[in-house]
């Protein structure tokens, strides 16, 4: 590893640790008092949104294909992980972290497999047609989940179509680390020969093929990875909310994810990381203070989207990435200049 990269990675790790300490400071010391639990929940929501939105950005921003079915992959992860942890929970007593790890792995793998199976035929298509297929897949998943008696598999208590009694193990400590690891993996994927090939396909498919890139394989691989992380997000969600309802993972959820990707800037991980917690948590916070706001949430989304599209069509960050080491370099650079004067 080049020395400069080593230094940059170290700076980033320090940044991540500081973020973790800040979270702990806010929630573990009880500064927020009685509202602590509420904001704690918001943080978890913001973080699983970040995972799902980043995974969608992989498709939309880097591969250049729209998916309007990411809630479908998320629901597969949520249900698969919930079934497995509930079944395990009935037999053996495990500590929270073990259950959590099993959940995110099962959720990710289940969604990844479905993504792979869907991807092979679907990725012959591109553009609008692929988009329609993803909508169809998500709808199929939702309808199946609504009609197949999933809670019965686990023998859990059933209240209509909801699946309740899932272990509440998505602690924000774990979720924060999961989010960081997920983002790191996706970042490494993009900044490797695979990512370069992916962006080349987005830029010009024929030229990419003529440069020796196996377009279908790269696309299926990316689709699978994207579905995997959507599944991880779903698993985190399931083990936070503890009750799953198929209607949560509907079309408007998928379009909400896509809207966040576009607002943050498709092709910018930073954009997704900044936009998702804000857009996931802010409306809930406002409606907490002003209850009447809840029903206007989607309206405000739409208005923000229109405004951003008019003034900055590439999204808040475009395709730029925020880099902590570079920022520090700039700060220290300007300080050095000031010293020289």
């Amino acid at each position: 590893m080049p020395a400069k990269m080593k230094k940059n990675y170290l700076i980033c790790i320090i940044g991540v640790v500081i973020g973790y300490l800040l979270l702990s400071l806010v929630f573990d010391t009880g500064i927020l008092g009685t509202r602590s639990a509420y904001f704690n929940g918001l943080a978890v929501i913001g973080m699983f949104y970040t995972i799902v939105v980043c995974s969608l950005n992989l498709l939309t921003g880097y591969m250049g294909e729209f998916s309007l079915g990411h809630a479908g992959f998320m629901s597969i992860g949520a249900y698969a992980s919930a079934i497995v942890t509930t079944l395990i929970g009935q037999k053996v007593e495990l500590s929270g972290i073990v259950i959590y790890l099993i959940a995110i792995l099962v959720g990710g793998i289940a969604a990844g497999i479905i993504g792979f199976l869907v991807g092979i035929p679907a990725l012959r298509l591109s553009g609008d047609y692929l988009c329609i297929v993803t909508v169809a897949v998500a709808e199929i998943v939702r309808v199946v989940l609504s009609n197949v008696g999933i809670p019965a598999i686990t023998g859990a208590a059933t209240f209509g179509k909801s699946f309740s009694g899932i272990a509440k193990v998505s602690d924000y400590h774990y979720v924060y680390i999961t989010m960081v690891v997920c983002i790191f993996i996706m970042y490494c994927y993009i900044r490797s020969r695979y990512g370069r090939a992916l962006i080349a396909i987005r830029e010009d498919r024929i030229a990419a093929e003529s440069s020796g890139i196996n377009v279908t394989r790269t696309k299926v691989l990316t689709f699978t990875i994207s579905a995997f992380f959507a599944g991880v997000g779903g698993a985190v969600y399931a083990h936070y909310i503890t009750t799953l309802v198929p209607t949560y993972f509907n079309f408007s959820k998928s379009s909400e994810f896509l809207a966040i990707v576009i607002l943050g800037g498709s092709g910018s991980m930073t954009g997704s990381i900044v936009a998702s917690p804000i857009l996931a948590a802010l409306p809930q916070m406002i409606s907490y203070v002003v209850p009447a706001f809840a029903s206007y949430r989607m309206l405000i989304y739409a208005v923000i989207l229109v405004i951003v599209m008019i003034f900055k069509p590439s999204g808040l960050f475009g395709t730029r990435e925020f880099s902590l080491p570079k920022l520090l370099e700039r700060i220290s650079g300007s300080r050095k200049k000031a010293d020289a004067r």
Partner: protein
């Protein structure tokens, strides 16, 4: 001509029909090691179609083609490239929003060995290979005097440089033969001269055979060793530039029949 050698690229009765239209028909070409071959013909003669056939974008409906004796029919484009045929495009196809360096690095992809896990875990091998690839890419850019633009987005390059970058990218695929589709199209005389130097340099540096589609006759006549002339999808003539320049059929295809011209003149006089 070195008949005893195995041609690098050979087409045998190669043809394709779109519906009832025979776009390319019965094309026989041989390109031997180190040769620079021109492929010329009027617009719509089927030159680019031949390139698309050879690179697997179209599948031939008749005949077959061979790379170093190996039959290539039915391979998909990326497999053709893996075997060693590289090309550029008539209308430049660069990865516009990627840096000049990355445009070249992408083409090294097929020979890179880092696995997915290796890339994500950032293994020492990953860093080593990335470094080597960057070094090789920079060397290629230096050959075309593009090293100063390495971190620029490809779309910001001047037109002539974009053409050169496309050639550099094709070279990065580690090919056995290079197909250039109208590299001088839209270039000014200075850029054409630069291109000519680059092609000469290519031949000295890489010793690879080149098949060149070109409309710029002075360029073709001055650098090609042999020329194939295509008209209505069929080979009309082949030979050295001198033979082609004095070939009656070729002149006819480009300028029309002599008596037609005379007829036109007499009627104008009358």
């Amino acid at each position: 001509m070195k008949k005893e050698e195995v041609p690098v690229l050979e087409t045998k009765n190669l043809g394709i029909s779109f519906g009832g239209l025979k776009a390319v028909n019965d094309v026989n070409m041989q390109i031997y090691p180190g040769e620079l071959i021109g492929l010329i013909g009027p617009n719509g003669a089927g030159k680019t179609t031949i390139f698309n056939l050879i690179t697997g974008i179209y599948k031939p409906t008749e005949g077959s083609y061979f790379l170093c004796g190996k039959r290539m029919n039915g391979l998909s484009t990326h497999q053709v490239v893996a075997e060693g045929i590289a090309r550029t495009f008539q209308n430049i196809r660069l990865f516009k929003k990627m840096s000049v360096l990355d445009n070249v690095r992408v083409a090294f992809n097929k020979n890179m060995k880092t696995t997915l896990a290796g890339s994500i875990l950032r293994t020492p091998f990953f860093w080593k290979e990335e470094e080597e690839t960057t070094k090789k890419a920079m060397e290629l850019l230096r050959l075309f005097h593009l090293e100063g633009f390495a971190n620029e987005n490809a779309e910001n390059l001047p037109y002539g440089k974009q053409r050169l970058l496309e050639i550099a990218r094709a070279l990065a695929t580690d090919m056995k033969i290079l197909l250039l589709d109208e590299p001088a199209a839209g270039m000014n005389p200075v850029e054409t001269a630069e291109l000519k130097d680059s092609i000469r340099m290519l031949r000295e540096e890489f010793k690879i055979p080149i098949l060149l589609i070109e409309h710029d006759m002075s360029l073709v006549m001055s650098i090609c060793e042999r020329i194939y002339v295509l008209n209505f999808g069929e080979i009309l003539a082949s030979g050295t530039p001198e033979e082609i320049a004095s070939n009656k059929d070729v002149i006819e295809a480009y300028l029309g029949k002599e008596d037609e011209l005379e007829g036109g003149e007499t009627s104008a006089e009358g």
